[in-house]
């Protein structure tokens, strides 16, 4: 089985890289880009039957730093 973990900076945490991307889009002439947030996607190849609870532990322990990041798990 596969799972995908999306890691994003929490709302309210300034994302300087996203801001730089927003500026770059503006200077390329793309108007109306009001905000950009940049995150990570982590794909996991897992043994069949791996529980979502276990994936959540992986996120809490390593994949995300919950001080600044939130995560979302998608089992494929």
């Amino acid at each position: 089985m596969k799972a995908r973990v999306y890691v994003m900076l929490k709302n309210g945490v300034l994302d300087p890289q996203g801001e730089a991307v927003r500026h770059a889009l503006g200077s390329l002439g793309f108007d109306g880009v009001e905000g950009v947030r940049q995150g990570k996607v982590i794909e996991l190849d897992l043994a069949d039957g791996t529980s979502e609870a276990l994936i959540e532990q992986m996120c809490e322990k390593l994949l995300a730093n919950t001080v600044i990041e939130s995560y979302r798990i998608e089992v494929l």
């Binding site: 945490v13 300034l14 300087p16 890289q17 730089a20 322990k61 390593l62 994949l63 730093n65 001080v67 600044i68």
Partner: protein, 222 residues
């Protein structure tokens, strides 16, 4: 005083740290990250700067899961001293020994220069060699030194006098200009600037000597 300097793949300030500690009178051993325990009788663990594990995932995240870090957490829990500099500070926040997190610099640039720091408290083994309010010059060299912490924790850090150093001219966007913070028991210090790069006239300054001497002085009188 017996000190251990942790070495991860990608550490690059480990030897500078050992030199600074030895110059201040410590007996220093280098400890590899795969070791599951610290040598016996260690008083201070120094987690050096560098780019442990290539900064993969997040700065310090992989290093914080290495076998030696469990031993470092145990050492801190027993009241042992821990100093984390630069990548070492990032590792300590990732282990949870210190609050907050270090994010990409607000201007996205790698910053390498000497910065003026204000000593915010002299009430710790690390800073008792200074007076609160002193200005010291330590080099910084980092891409991810933007210290972030939530408002409640910031209030706690302030209330408990746990902000050790602040930047005079904040180079990286850190909350409240914070350059270094102490643990609750004041025996764990994490800081982005490099005191070990300011201990010899050849470095261009010796403001870091007082930090190491103060730390080692704890054990001379004990």
């Amino acid at each position: 005083m017996r000190a251990a300097v942790i070495v991860f793949p990608g550490s690059n300030c480990d030897r500078d740290m050992a030199v600074a500690l030895r110059a201040a009178g410590a007996d220093v051993q280098m400890v590899w990250h795969k070791d599951a325990s610290l040598p016996e009788g260690i008083d201070l663990v120094a987690v050096p700067g560098g780019f442990s594990f290539g900064d993969y995932l997040r700065c310090g995240a992989i290093a914080a899961q290495s076998p030696i870090c469990q031993a470092v957490v145990g050492h801190a829990a027993r009241g042992g001293y821990v100093l984390g500099v630069c990548n070492g500070f990032q590792v300590l926040t990732e282990t949870g020994l210190l609050p907050g997190a270090l994010m990409r610099n607000a201007n996205l640039k790698f910053i390498c220069k000497t910065t003026d720091l204000k000593v915010e408290t002299s009430a710790s083994a690390f800073t008792e060699g200074y007076n609160a309010g002193d200005t010291v010059g330590f080099p910084v060299a980092h891409h991810d030194g933007n210290y972030t912490v939530d408002d409640a924790t910031l209030a706690e850090l302030r209330g408990e006098d746990r902000i050790a150093f602040t930047y005079g001219d904040n180079p990286n966007g850190s909350v409240a200009d914070i350059a270094g913070v102490l643990s609750e028991n004041r025996r764990v210090l994490g800081m982005m600037p490099h005191p070990e790069r300011a201990v010899d006239n050849g470095h261009g300054g010796t403001d870091g000597q007082a930090l190491f001497r103060g730390l080692i002085g704890q054990f001379a009188t004990a």
